[in-house]
């Protein structure tokens, strides 16, 4: 594992789920036989999860403006289709300020892997309400409880046209690793949502003080996709539906772009 990392101390709070996501990702990379990360380029925006690759991965990483990691990844991938381009980001970065880019990348079937660490909160800035915060949850900007319905980013990317989409939690470490592995092997747009614990900025305000409390909550509240499909909407309120939502194969963005380029060069 150390061979993938720079010799730096990780910045995450005690109990943070980012280390689990990092570990799951690197296990998947290891299983795929990559001895190092030379074939990868990482793009990340702003937020705690954006720090998973930058600067800790011994690799090329571009740590960009808030929400814009997917556009930057688009430029990298189109000019270097041979590289594995992986985006790390939080729910605020990718499903808040950057949601439009997420949708359009899925629509284009942009051949990158997007790993969204969903801790249901803006953690780095101190625990403000996020587009993913559960209805009623107390945050620093919803002191009376959140009055907004949360977004389901995984279902959105499925609808938008992703080739691969899965959601697991940091409780489901092996499933998460397996989802990352399949995402990396996916030809087109691959999205993995990792529901993750933030004891510091989320858990302690909603009565789940420790990482263990949050992981237990994930365990008890998770519903496998095949079971969820048989449940009514009322019973699914507040549940985390986990599983592989889609896995399909159709032409990727860089394939279609370069088919166009080749045609244009011929016609000249």
């Amino acid at each position: 594992m150390r061979s993938y990392l720079r010799d730096l101390r990780l910045p995450f709070c005690p109990g943070c789920g980012d280390a689990t996501v990092m570990h799951s990702f690197l296990r998947a990379v290891h299983e795929l036989g990559h001895k190092d990360l030379r074939k990868f380029v990482f793009c990340s925006g702003i937020g705690c999860a954006a720090w998973i690759p930058s600067p800790y991965f011994k690799a090329d990483s571009i740590h960009v403006t808030h929400g814009r990691s997917i556009p930057v990844a688009t430029g990298v991938k189109l000019m270097r289709p041979d590289l594995n381009v992986v985006v790390f980001g939080g729910d605020g970065d990718l499903a808040g300020i950057g949601l439009s880019h997420l949708m359009h990348a899925a629509r284009r079937n942009l051949d990158v892997v997007v790993i969204m660490v969903n801790n249901m909160i803006y953690g780095m800035t101190g625990g403000q309400v996020a587009p993913t915060t559960p209805l009623g949850a107390r945050t620093t900007t919803t002191p009376y409880g959140s009055f907004e319905r949360p977004i389901d980013a995984t279902r959105l990317v499925v609808e938008a046209g992703a080739s691969y989409a899965a959601r697991w939690t940091t409780f489901h470490r092996d499933d998460l690793k397996e989802a990352v592995r399949r995402a990396i092997l996916t030809k087109g747009f691959a999205f993995v949502e990792a529901v993750s614990q933030c004891p510091t900025a989320f858990g302690r305000r909603v009565g789940l003080k420790t990482a263990a409390d949050l992981l237990r909550w994930f365990e008890e509240n998770s519903v496998p996709l095949h079971e969820a499909e048989r449940m009514v909407e009322k019973d699914l309120a507040g549940k985390i539906v986990v599983g592989e939502f889609v896995r399909r194969d159709f032409p990727t963005f860089s394939q279609t772009v370069y088919t166009m380029v080749k045609g244009a060069m011929k016609r000249g």
Partner: protein, 383 residues
Amino acid sequence: MTKAMPPGTYFWQGNEACAEGAIAAGCRFFAGYPITPASEIAEHLTKRLPQTGGVAIQMEDEMASLGAVIGASWTGVKAMTATSGPGFSLMQENIGYAFMTETPCVVVDAQRAGPSTGQATKCGQGDVMQARWGTHGDYASIVLSPNSVQEMFDLTIEAFNLAERYRTPVVLLADEIVAHMRERMEVPPLKQIALVNRRKPKPGNDAFFGSQEVPPMPEVGAGYNVLVTGSTHDAYGIRQTADPLVHQRLVGRLVGKIATNADKIVQFEGSNVEACTIGIVSYGCTSRAVYEAVELAKKKGLNIGYIRLKTVWPFPSTIVQTMAHTADMIFVPEMNLRQIFYETERAVHGEVPVFSVNKIGGGEMITPEELLAAILKEVKSLD
């Protein structure tokens, strides 16, 4: 495979000339979002770049457009976007990012009448200060101002050259008139076009963000393990979000590499600058009226001279100061409510009175007659 257009005489629109200039400069990637009066650049490049083996795409907005350009630039290719005022506003975050991360790229802003949606199809020159100060924090800008279709071609190439030489975003500050008009222009033989390419690292280099005024720039996927971040970082790209010295060193160098090379960067056109009693400082479309106003003024017996800024930022203070030594008054005509006027005043430091001649709205240019009338009014009041 079609490459750059063969040398010869062409009758092009300014935006076409800009797009062809980009191809001649070696641009391989374009990403943009539709906006009047810059859309023809996207339309032309989406047709022409693929013919040269490059990629041109339309993104979902302007933040994404410049983001994709930045990503492409880090793969080692020359990349560009084009927009107008409203989109230029949206690009400011990534202009700051490109400056902070020393990412060469070209941003074309074909100005229209603002603020906000303003008059989308009408010319304005109101983005001059935004091009200098639009993003937050301390920074320095390189901004070029073409005044002809020929310069839409030439200065686009120059913008790429400066971006590559100084590892910084460069703005081509065009305007609706220069962008949309058609006139005759010459494409020189490719061999005569001087091109600059970013300096690449040598084996063993790892300080990609310091230790030299303009450090060498690696590309991703080449084994350098390059760390790019818009946070304050040390010479190796490692975030240092609290150390005052690292911030001072980084931002000081980034501003300094442009400020200390201002004399090398700055380009202008001048006539009778050092001996005139009446001086004019102008740029962009407005400067086209200046040529004729100068001829009209000469016929009236006035000793008139002008400076036409090709580089708006860094501001060519030295030549403006030279003009101020002999001139009794300096006029600054511009299609905004005073922007370069203030910079001119600042440069001459009270040595000579500076008068502004302004016109906004409807895309109506300042005419030579209007400029002459403004000059004669002040000359008479001096008598």
